[in-house]
Amino acid sequence: MLNSLAAQAIFYVIAALTVGFAALVAFSRNIVYSAFALVGALMGVAGVYILLAADFVAMVQVLLYVGGIVVLTIFAVMLTQGIGDLAVSNRAVGPGAGLAVVALAGAVMLYATLRTPWHLATAVAVASTTYGIGNAFLGVYVLPFEIASLVLLAALVGAVTISRQDTPPPADGAAEKGRS
């Protein structure tokens, strides 16, 4: 898929954009800007997925990460105390230790990349992967598919239970005491 020159050029543009936005997330002094730059980085990853002909994963990336996780992140940032203060917003803590971790992680990744015997596939015309996934979901993997809904149900009930612990059952109308 990637052996045409145009695809390679597109890959490098997308990769540069992704790394640029990721750097913005890491280095921005203001955590709100970091949260919004995350959108760009995650969209860039979606672009890489599309280049790899993984269109369903790209869709999941856009719908769930860009549409869901980033919204949650921005809400979490907005719930933070002292969000307007630059001093507490996005401090650089322990640059020496951080640099060491980054160097170590980079070395491990480089080692793994260089040591892996990469299998070079011949370019084939790849169709959309969504059909196959749909058939697998409601064919061989129909039980995991249904269990996934139970997992989601558990997450939903858990979220409601944890966040509404303090609420009395709506029998009496004395609910307006200090909930904002």
Binding site: A53, L64, G68, F75, T130, E146, A159, A175
Partner: protein, 118 residues
């Protein structure tokens, strides 16, 4: 398959060029005479109160969590929707069971007052 995504790439590139070009040309050629009134937050003509970055109520977060749960539901249903005709009745019943289980959760959240605003 890459060619089917090419229009999206072109759209993104044109959008980036237009927006970036307008902002850049404006910055290069426009006059800048800042004043106190121009620097105020815009609040539809009213005098602004408080800060632009106020803290949200935690209730928004619960709503966002519920949104993410149903977002994941959409992702599971999307491959089924693409193969709807091929999967036929069996697929429809299985998807309805999937939706039904999550509807239980929605009813529970509703009953617990997670969707109420007070």
């Amino acid at each position: 398959m890459l060619l089917t995504w090419f229009p999206i790439l072109v759209t993104l590139a044109v959008a980036a060029l237009v927006v970036g070009g307008m902002v850049t040309i404006n910055r290069l050629t426009g006059p800048r005479r800042p004043s106190k009134i121009k620097g105020e937050e815009f609040e539809c003509g009213n005098p602004p109160t408080g800060q632009a970055w106020g803290r949200f109520s935690v209730h928004f977060y619960l709503t966002a969590l519920l949104f993410v749960v149903f977002d994941v539901e959409v992702i599971f249903l999307y491959p089924w929707a693409v193969e709807l005709r091929h999967l036929g009745m069996f697929g429809l019943v299985e998807a309805l069971i999937f939706i039904g289980i999550l509807t239980v959760g929605l009813v529970y959240a509703w009953q617990r007052g997670a969707l109420d605003w007070n």
